[in-house]
């Protein structure tokens, strides 16, 4: 159901929603960027519409709102284990169409790859999503090429225009919130053309691993793993045990985000590492995003948000790799 209302009214609804929801949205973190006096756009809890960064794409994705960078799985006290409590409120997460598509990929791995993930499931069950439209394309995204430029499985759509707010509420919980407001058809803004255009390589295979492109990009990659951490579809983690200094009998097991580009990712006990070279790691990542995930689940993993290209300190472009693979491998 679509509505038009005054921004002030929307703000008061936004406040009211916080009685039952924790609201997460992209916000500008002043001076928290990689270089001094550089800002970064990341997800955080917000209390007012004006805190939300509506124009710039977030540097890190919405996945931070669902999966913490490090998450306590349980606490140890000698032989006892205690699982921390889940969310006490519902979550409302603001995101864009590409990220809405990324959510499907997170669900695939965490809910539907044979086993379900207890921790993801309990936060996911309480999460609702508010689509932020894109009236113009970001610089590096190639969502149109990936078919992720449009999303319709949102709970809520919100657009602010001057002192007006435009809303499309799909989730029943939200329809009641907007009761009495002026009804109007509202269709989310979405882009139909990006600056960055990608031809998706269709003939990737086991033989692709011998393409010299990997050595070339591997020689540029410094293995920092930033591409994985900003990616809305990367889901890998590593277990980490922590013990408290003041009582070494008490501690916790955490999972922390992992990167397939960093030393140790494929290393087994005894020290053998299956992918030692950056070239192999680069190939592993690109092939996972565009080949083997699709082979297993039937659709590509990458949503074309372009964040990996934005963050790479070596200016490696995932989009350029894809275009070259499409040319060389077909």
């Amino acid at each position: 159901m679509g509505y038009q209302l005054a921004k002030d009214k929307m703000e008061s609804i936004f406040k009211k929603l916080q009685e039952t929801h924790d609201i997460y949205a992209p916000v500008v973190k002043k001076g928290d960027g990689t270089f001094s006096e550089v800002d970064v756009v990341r997800y955080d809890k917000v209390t007012s519409l004006d805190e939300i960064e509506w124009n710039k794409k977030s540097d890190y994705s919405f996945k931070e709102a669902l999966l913490s960078i490090n998450e306590t799985l349980f606490y140890f006290t000698e032989d006892e284990t205690t699982v921390p409590k889940g969310p006490t409120k519902d979550l409302l997460i603001f995101l864009r169409a590409c990220d809405m598509h990324a959510l499907k990929r997170l669900d695939q791995i965490y809910l539907d790859n044979k086993f379900g993930d207890f921790y993801y499931q309990r936060v996911r069950a309480r999460a609702k999503f508010c689509l932020m439209g894109c009236s113009k394309s970001c610089e590096s995204g190639y969502c149109v090429s990936m078919g992720t430029n449009k999303a319709d499985n949102y709970d809520l759509y919100l657009k602010l225009d001057g002192d007006k707010a435009f809303v499309d509420a799909k989730n029943e919980d939200f329809v009641t919130v907007f009761e009495g407001e002026t009804k109007q058809d509202v269709t989310p803004d979405y882009v139909t053309e990006n600056k960055e255009k990608v031809t998706i390589p269709k003939n990737l295979s086991k033989a692709t691993k011998d393409n010299p492109i990997w050595e070339e990009y591997g020689s540029r990659c410094i293995g920092c793993g930033r591409c994985n951490f900003v990616c809305p579809t990367c889901t890998c983690f590593t277990m980490q045990d922590i013990f408290y200094k003041d009582n070494p009998k008490v501690g916790e097991r955490r999972r922390v985000w992992a990167s397939c580009q960093i030393d140790g990712y494929s290393e087994i006990a005894g020290g053998f590492e299956f992918r030692k070279k950056q070239a192999d790691r680069m190939r592993f990542k690109v092939m996972h995003k565009h080949y083997d995930f699709e082979k297993r689940f039937g659709y590509s993993m990458c949503v074309g948000c372009g964040r990996c290209d934005d963050v790479c300190p070596e200016y490696i472009s995932h989009a350029a790799i894809l275009n070259r693979l499409a040319k060389e491998e077909g």
């Binding site: 086993f115 045990d241 097991r253 192999d280």
Partner: protein
């Protein structure tokens, strides 16, 4: 939804020392488990390690653990009369039915023998389930031999070749890589042969090269892969090879599938 990440305590019933580096921990476990499956074994503060089941008994599972990482070091130091936290079993494991009525050849390198031990035990105890059973097990040196008592027991009912890569002068047993013994294998009907081969990646590679020289087809060969596994349930991503998660779809693969996988 079940929380798979929380381990449960399991009592250590017995510890069998094979070498200074390798012990078998006999642990309490009630539930379905197959040879070739694995558990995540925890030592709080040090983490978890995936360890394959090396034996299955009534209310018991064996884990043969090699002291190679920080978790396993800690298991060795702190086991006495204690419990370990474990979770599992995970992975597909070996299906004995695939080997029944065949001419079975089991080739293991070092701790690679562990995941196959349940299969060896089955055919040693029920030799009539197979046309013939041959075990070729290779270890680095006489000091590295695992399951010493088992080998004597197994030799009563199945063909056993226990070899070491190198030995001091005067050693009486077979010396040489496992591959040395493959060309001599004889079969009533090679089409009815089945090979199970587990060990370090380099050993698997050369063993399969030798097996193929006998005219054996890919589908007659089975192997089990070792990869880093933090979760065991297809989430952490470390064990993925091509479109397969070794923890979910393996670790046991038929070679028709295994040969297509790449890291």
């Amino acid at each position: 939804m079940k929380n798979e990440y929380v381990p449960f305590p399991s009592k250590i019933k017995e510890v069998i020392k094979h070498t200074n580096l390798e012990y078998t921990f006999r642990m309490e476990f009630n539930g379905e488990v197959k040879p070739g499956q694995f558990f995540e074994i925890s030592i709080p503060k040090y983490g978890e390690a995936p360890i394959s089941v090396s034996g299955i008994g009534d209310g018991l599972v064996d884990f043969t653990i090699r002291r190679v990482g920080k978790v396993t070091d800690e298991v060795f130091e702190n086991y006495v009369g204690d419990t370990l936290l474990i979770r599992g079993p995970y992975g597909n494991g070996f299906d004995i039915e695939n080997f029944k009525g065949k001419e079975v050849v089991i080739i293991g390198g070092g701790t690679g023998v562990s995941p196959m031990r349940g299969v060896i035990q089955h055919f040693a105890a029920n030799p009539k389930d197979a046309v013939s059973t041959t075990l070729i097990a290779g270890f680095k040196s006489p000091e590295d031999v695992l399951f010493k008592a088992d080998f004597e027991e197994w030799a009563k009912t199945i063909n056993v070749i226990k070899t070491v890569d190198a030995a001091p002068e005067g050693y009486e047993g077979p010396v040489g890589m496992v591959t040395k013994y493959i060309p001599d294998l004889k079969f009533e009907n090679p089409k009815n042969a089945v090979f199970i081969c587990v060990g370090p990646p380099i050993m698997i590679k050369f063993t399969i090269q030798e097996i193929k020289k006998l005219g054996i087809e890919d589908e007659q060969i089975w192997t089990s892969y070792e990869r880093k596994m933090c979760c065991g349930i297809g989430k952490c991503g470390h064990c993925k090879m091509d479109d397969k998660y070794v923890c979910l779809d393996g670790p046991v693969f038929n070679y028709t599938e295994a040969k297509e996988l790449f890291d």
